[in-house]
């Protein structure tokens, strides 16, 4: 899959778009919150619309905002966390594992 490339059109934020994004983030918004978020997100996207109006043809696209690159770790094992200590903090450990409610999809 590849990312969409039409960066020049600023999408319009509607209450439906906000509701969908809220669902993806598992946020349970009230009608009032939905209206508020719609107004606020519209303001933010308008700002990006302003940036899009500038002539940026001479500016090199930036993949990363940080001036440093290539921070590596060597491939050496360092002891991690103790299982018992970790599971003692979990709500429902079982058989050395984390017991969780069922989910309805899987990835990878």
């Amino acid at each position: 899959m590849s990312p969409s490339s039409d960066a020049k059109t600023t999408p319009k934020i509607t209450a439906q778009v906000v509701a969908k994004v809220a669902h993806l983030a598992r946020l349970d918004l009230t009608e009032a919150e939905l209206a508020l978020m719609t107004t606020q997100l519209t303001g933010m996207l308008d700002h990006f619309g302003d940036i899009d109006k500038l002539d940026l043809s001479a500016v090199t696209p930036m993949a990363q905002p940080f001036p440093i690159k290539n921070v590596y770790r060597e491939d050496v094992v360092v002891p991690g966390l103790d299982r018992q200590e970790v599971l003692d903090n979990a709500p429902a450990p079982q058989d050395g594992r984390f017991r969780v409610p069922p989910s309805n999809g899987s990835e990878s």
């Binding site: 990312p3 993949a63 290539n70 050496v76 069922p102």
Partner: protein
């Protein structure tokens, strides 16, 4: 194992006029000591949740730092797949599922480390490789309760995070594959390449190599149809079976007036069919965004070129070299098998010791299936045997017996063994006399053979071999019989 020599099965799978379009997404776990972004062990089969740390568990404040060796192995693989290696970035792929504690997977999105490669399959078929990018593996959830032990209808899941954060490369082919045979060849060749460059142990049975198969069908020369993605395809054999099943299913749906919807399907190997797992979410639903905790990964020309210089000769080049040496077809089963076992250097040693290369190839294939890359038999002993057989001093059957004895004893003088066993191939005039005697003894069989009944020859050859006590060469006997028939 290669399927290069197996008969194509695709011709009969789809009705006339239909074509399969297949793309593969293969995940491989890299053979590192530690995880992609943290220092816990990358080790299969340990007690659950013993290889965990704050990064693996997504604890607040934990920060990922990339494993240099994982990057190096990804580049080795990319170069072996003829990719361009480029500066790359990481993104967060956001979704809610228990196998990732952070609620996102760190992966590469619009700037992957390896792009635009290809792999060659038998028959000079070129399969494009869109990308081979780095990402972290997920944890493992096991579902309990309900009726099936599968996720739907289960009551709860138990999660083990040992695998979470293990370095993966996802190799995405272009939709250039046109039948199940090619798909199997692609996976088989990819596995050989992974082993050759040391990027992964590529064990499908342990999940260190996993295939997702994208299948669609179309009428020849029409645009691509809607594709379905098949998961849980856990062996090379299953790759072929799943593709043939799914393509046939799609054609049946389309021919009965239905439509294919884009979805993810699950391959059930015991039932031999696919089931709907879920309707595909849009790519945008993952809300990819740049991982703010990682910086640009730019390996640079110098490092990439030093990795390229350190690559071993790849399987395709080794097969070509072996084929050149022995005169065998580079797509023959013998050539694939010997290179797969890493015994092509041993065949070369036999040739260097004065042996006849074509027979050396046959002997090594026959005798050293379990021997590994370096059979513990002197190459010169095999070389001597190839010459005995080439010069018709012993028959092919006798050579096989001598070979077995040499292998059993870890070496031996072929000439001495032949003498001890009384193996002396008869000279042609003696064989001719035996053939004449057999014709006289079996006039009926000879008449039938002369009348074109090829089966009758078998009985005559058998009788001659018997009277020669196995010393006559079956090929010579056959040739004399054919010559006498005229």
């Amino acid at each position: 194992m290669s399927n290069a020599s197996s008969a194509p099965s695709h011709a009969t799978v789809l009705p006339n006029g239909w074509e399969m379009v297949i793309g593969l997404e293969v995940h491989v776990e890299l053979d590192t000591k530690t995880k992609l972004f943290s220092a816990s062990p990358n080790h299969f089969g340990d007690e659950p949740n013993t290889n965990i740390d704050p990064v693996t568990l997504g604890l607040p404040g934990a920060l990922p730092v990339i494993n240099r060796r994982a990057v190096e192995l990804a580049i080795r693989l990319g170069l072996a797949l003829n990719c361009t290696v480029q500066a790359s970035t990481f993104h967060r792929k956001n979704y809610f599922y228990q196998d990732l504690a952070k609620a996102y997977q760190i992966t590469q999105y619009d700037q992957p480390i390896n792009i635009d490669g290809y792999m060659m399959l038998p028959g000079d078929v070129r399969i494009g490789i869109e990308r081979a990018h780095l990402e972290e593996d997920t944890g493992k959830s096991t579902h309990f309760g309900g009726t099936s032990g599968r996720i739907h209808g289960s009551d709860y899941s138990l999660v083990d995070f040992n695998r979470a954060g293990v370095p993966l490369v996802e190799i995405v082919s272009r939709p250039d594959i046109r039948n199940a045979d090619q798909a199997r060849q692609y996976v088989s060749e990819l596995r050989s390449i992974l082993l050759a460059v040391g990027a992964s142990d590529a064990k499908m049975e342990e999940g260190s190599m996993r295939c997702d198969v994208n299948v669609s069908v179309r009428k020849a020369d029409e645009p691509f149809g809607t594709r379905c993605e098949i998961k849980n395809v856990n062996s090379i054999r299953a790759v072929g079976k799943a593709i043939d099943y799914e393509a046939r299913r799609q054609v049946d749906v389309l021919e009965s007036g239905g439509t294919i919807r884009q979805e993810t399907r699950h391959w059930d190997d015991s039932e031999g069919r696919t089931h709907t797992l879920r309707v595909k979410e849009d790519a945008d639903d993952y809300r990819y965004f740049l991982e703010p905790d990682l910086v640009l990964l730019d390996p640079g020309t110098e490092w990439v070129e030093s990795i390229r210089a350190s690559l071993p000769m790849l399987p395709a080049a080794r097969r070509a070299r072996l084929a050149q040496l022995t005169g065998a077809d580079k797509e023959s089963e013998a050539v694939y098998v010997i290179v797969e076992r890493g015994q092509d250097d041993f065949v070369q040693l036999v040739a260097d010791a004065g042996g006849e290369p074509a027979r050396a190839l046959v002997y090594v294939q026959q005798a050293f299936a379990e021997a590994g890359a370096n059979p513990s038999v002197p190459a010169k002993d095999l070389a001597a045997l190839t010459l005995l057989e080439r010069d018709a001093k012993v028959t092919a059957t006798q050579a096989k017996t001598i070979l077995a004895e040499i292998v059993a004893n870890g070496g031996g003088d072929a000439v001495a063994i032949a003498a001890a066993k009384g193996f002396e191939a008869l000279d042609t005039s003696a064989v001719e006399a035996m053939v004449d005697a057999a014709i006289a003894a079996q006039p009926d069989a000879w008449a039938k053979y002369c009348a074109g009944e090829e089966k009758a020859m078998g009985a005559m050859v058998g009788a001659i071999m018997k009277s020669s006590q196995g010393k006559a060469d079956g090929k010579v006997v056959t040739a004399i019989l054919q010559a006498k028939r005229g």
